[in-house]
Amino acid sequence: MSTQRPLTLEAEPARYLWLIVLVLGLIGLTIVLMTAPAQELLGQSAEAIRGALHGTAAGLFMVTATIGLFQGYRLFAGQARSVAELQVGSVVNAALAFFTIALGNWVYIPYRVSGGPRSYFLEHAPEIHKVFFEFKEFAALFTLPLAAAAAFILIFYGASAVRRKDLSTLVAVLLALVFFYFLVAFGLGAAVTKLKSV
């Protein structure tokens, strides 16, 4: 008679996995910094550091929002395996929504100054500011309360949020909305930055 091992990751291999990820990350960062010096990555503008930090936060948020979408799908399909995993993911998701918005405010200052990208767009292609940028700046704000609500429900209800179909569906919808509004803001923000950065 054969016995099946449960599909769980043991603690020791998990630690090795984190170590491997850390080493690979350091190798990747070293290669990037050697082949593309920091100044080239950031750009020549005096305000480039603001854009770089906002972009980094948005890049990390893209990862967690995508993971959130996947976790939401599994929750909806009744395949979620770990409440703790959902709770950590949703809190990180909400925290990154906050940091991306706060850093977005910071980068918005040089965007609005006279002679900045806003002036440039209003003079050469007003619809880029008046339609795409303005919609992006509000769509980005939608992510925070939705992500916070999802995180709150998962923490407040714990395993009940997974077991109750109505609550798991609600959280799945919230995480899908976070991904949608993030995607709108990120896509339009990247396009605007490509046309004229701060």
């Binding site: 918005y108 008046k130 509000f138 609500a149 949020a161 609600l170 909305l177």
Partner: protein
């Protein structure tokens, strides 16, 4: 005997607290959209939004009335969340019904901040 894992811990709290969080989020977003539209149609309201942001937000002068719109959204979101949580935390409510209302509010907010729609209010 093993202690229950974290995943086994379940709160049997009624649905009210979850729905308070969701409805408050949608009310905050609607407040954001309303503040934006009113700023576009009324100069005094736009100035009020600037003043509201200046009260507490670092760099508010640099981002204009957007700071006040964010503040208005935060205030409505947090205050309505506190009030709804207190009122609903012990009540079992229809998740589908309240969630549907929240989704409609989010949809209305999204529509109002779509610039071609906002423009319609400016021209009337």
């Amino acid at each position: 005997m093993s202690s229950p894992s974290r995943d086994d811990e379940a709160s049997d709290a009624p649905s009210g607290a979850a729905l308070a969080a969701v409805l408050a989020a949608s009310l905050g977003l609607l407040a954001l959209a309303m503040a934006h539209v009113l700023s576009e149609v009324s100069v005094p309201f736009k100035n009020a939004m600037q003043s509201l942001g200046n009260l507490w937000m670092p760099g508010a002068a640099g981002i204009g009335p957007y700071s006040g719109k964010e503040t208005a959204a935060l205030l409505v979101w947090w205050l309505s969340w506190a009030a709804l949580h207190a009122a609903w935390k012990r009540r079992e409510l229809s998740v589908g019904g309240v969630a549907a209302v929240a989704l409609v509010l989010i949809g209305v907010a999204t529509t109002l901040v779509w610039p071609p729609i906002t423009e319609l209010f400016v021209h009337h």
